[in-house]
Symmetry: D2
Subunit: 255 residues, 4 copies
């Protein structure tokens, strides 16, 4: 039994520092590295790629909307054709840093509003999957478990990694409870850990309404924004190891 | 005897159209495609790559300063480390479009102020050459004949293409006469064509002062901004062919 | 009987030229000048303000989403607080060019997706109206006739100008027929002119479905993108004058 | 005897926080607020203006080069005409936030590379001074004591505030010792304070070479980047007060 731990990294920009990359990188197996549209810049990308390579953390592109001031979190009504092109661009830019440093990309995980929109919009999801496939058909596409993104990735012939969340509750249709609703966040750490174990070992999660639904858990999203988040990441790691779940980069076990 | 004809392409952006790419592409053997920093955007890059591939024109990246409003023509005091990273980023982005369309890059030609600064600044030239080499050591680096760019490219082990100009006069040190000086531009078309023939056949050019100096002429820069420029491009092509000079992409003859 | 003619101007950017401003400006009474977010740059703003002043055309700010590559035409999920701040910013920037050139702003017309979203979203409309009022309570807010924008403007105490279109058909609720639907565009010039005359003289428009509804027509949007558009603008002007409708800047008659 | 204390503020951007504005604002009399080109965004500008107003700190615009990734610290070869327009734009944007919040601007201090370049380049300095004057002739222009900026400001008829530095050594021509040279920074706090007192009380400073030269000290630049900087700001304040030097906004005493 294996699970990948992924985290959003390389989100600094110019004179601005964000995140605690040097402390998060050793805790995860896959790095989602920002590509300069919603965060990151060429110098940050270069340095983050090197840090991840040195730590043995697998490299992934984390492309987002061209909205630096909104950090890629604002929905934009982008056409599938434009989404295709912006994915090619960003993945290509990061792949070049990987190659220049002697590595290569393992995966692509869309960021923020692009990730959320692609989970529900089949046409957008298809454009993204096609772009990833066209840049490098060996890349793994990360998407919300059960989402249109995962379906589109499988449809075009990509390997996919279904992502789950420790700190978010689920709806009966497999979607995340919107943050605007009560019960969206799981703040009890024991409950969060137990949700993760259930998802990874039994492929099941108990929804906010109490129903048990199926879920695929290839990769778990780890937050690195603060001391508390880092501590929780370490607890998750310990709980997985105690339960004989191997923590490994998705590229080593996804077929 | 062979010479490459290159032109700056893909300079449109969003709602803005610039240049007459569909008419210039068939006239040249190498396309310098803007990479989104000084001009171009992901959708434009995708379309320009496809147009060039369909026409059999070799693909090149045309990276520039991050200065869209200044079109990359304003000098920026960028450190060699930042120049290295911005070249990796832009070349990688364009290489991904080439790959997605079933092609690959032949060359890299820095744009505008970056091109001019690198011609004289050995450290900047070295950073650019290293970046190109680290992304793909088979790429050809385009630079002003006799410049620091060419020296740096050769030093890191890249193939290089020395570029010459039909419509600019030369100084005794091999540099172009600055546009601010009288006699910088060669407006007499016959004189411009004769300068090209001399550079390509005899590896010589007569400077503004009247001295004959050596010059290497692997590739000639073709402008596509206006009917007159297109007409002149056709005249140059005819003159080269009449003189049994083969017009061919640099990748076919540069070693 | 009076009507204002407004047009989107100053949409060039850096090396990119868009529109035929010098020919459109004399045909309209109010200039909507782009403010650097979706189009325009400081140098273009300066020049457009001067051209409009010289021609006696009233000055207006045309603020849009921060999306140059999408020309402000893509919906962005911007919070009312962020919309408030981006309006203040853009209107302030243009007002400074007006002041530096010895003029002052008459109006504000939001651009593209921001205009369309504000027509339906009361909270967004309110944020925009508050921003305009807070910068200068004497400014006139332009909005689609019958829209939330106009209601919000009136509510905060601004003067408003209700805008109508010659070349778009109307729905029974007073909204424009979406471009995706058949019959959205009115291509018959005689029909377009007759729609304008009906709206201005009788405050009525016949909807696509054939029903006659009330409409307020303070200002008419004039397009300047092409010879045909310019010719049509001249026809509209002639038809208005023949019918004794005075063409005047909104500031001269809106109370 | 009076002196103004100014600090660079409002340098956060989108999701990125920079500086400790809420702690610096009460320590200074004049706030230089970033205007969105090298740092800051509309929401940050709005909030910073409100914070400064609440604290009674005078408002100033801090315009810079359009280079967010370089934080406006990289020299750009901008024409005087473009500099004029970018100053109008940025000052106008900030002035609108001031007006919306019930305040008004006191001063303009160019940022980073623009500040440094204008100190030596008379044409650039003149363009900036003209822009400030044309937006609002009552604004005070901040510049390095003895610089071309101050001369240009006086020449166009602006009030000017000559700025001095506590932690930088001076050359015999009144310029700051470049950071690349030994002795550029004054790290001894007692020495820095004594330099300030000499500049404010006696209008004199001892250069790095030991010569005593004249200096005008209307305003002192206060850094807010770290606990140590804040502590030093408090020491400077205490030293000024002990020596009966009144700390006051430049607008209250500059004629």
């Amino acid at each position: 039994m294996k699970v990948d731990l992924n985290s959003d990294l390389g989100e600094s920009f110019g004179n601005y520092t964000l995140g605690m990359d040097s402390r998060v990188i050793p805790l995860v197996t896959s790095a989602n590295i920002a590509c300069g549209f919603h965060a990151g810049d060429p110098a940050v990308m270069k340095n983050t790629v090197r840090q991840a390579l040195e730590s043995g953390t697998a490299l992934g592109a984390h492309p987002g909307f061209p909205d630096l001031v909104g950090f890629g979190r604002r929905k934009m009504d982008v056409s599938p054709a434009d989404a295709y092109a912006m994915i090619i661009y960003q993945v290509g830019a990061l792949a070049a840093f990987a190659k220049a440093a002697g590595g290569r990309l393992q995966h692509v995980k869309p960021h923020g509003a692009l990730f959320n929109m692609a989970a529900r919009d089949a046409k957008l999801a298809e454009a993204i999957a096609n772009a990833v496939y066209d840049v490098d058909s060996s890349l793994i596409l990360y998407g919300l478990s059960g989402s249109e993104s995962i379906k589109a990735g499988e449809h075009v012939g990509l390997r996919t990694a279904s992502e789950v969340f420790a700190d978010r509750s689920y709806q009966e249709d497999g979607s995340l409870t919107p943050r605007s609703q009560a019960g969206a966040m799981i703040t009890d750490e024991e409950k969060a850990i137990s949700q993760v174990l259930s998802m990874v070992r039994e492929h099941k999660v108990t929804t906010l309404s109490g129903k048990v639904i199926a879920v695929k858990a290839d990769t778990l999203c780890i937050h690195g924004d603060g001391e508390k988040a880092l501590l929780f990441a370490q607890k998750i790691r310990a709980a997985l190891q105690e339960n004989n779940i191997e923590i490994a980069a998705s590229g080593s076990f996804i077929r």
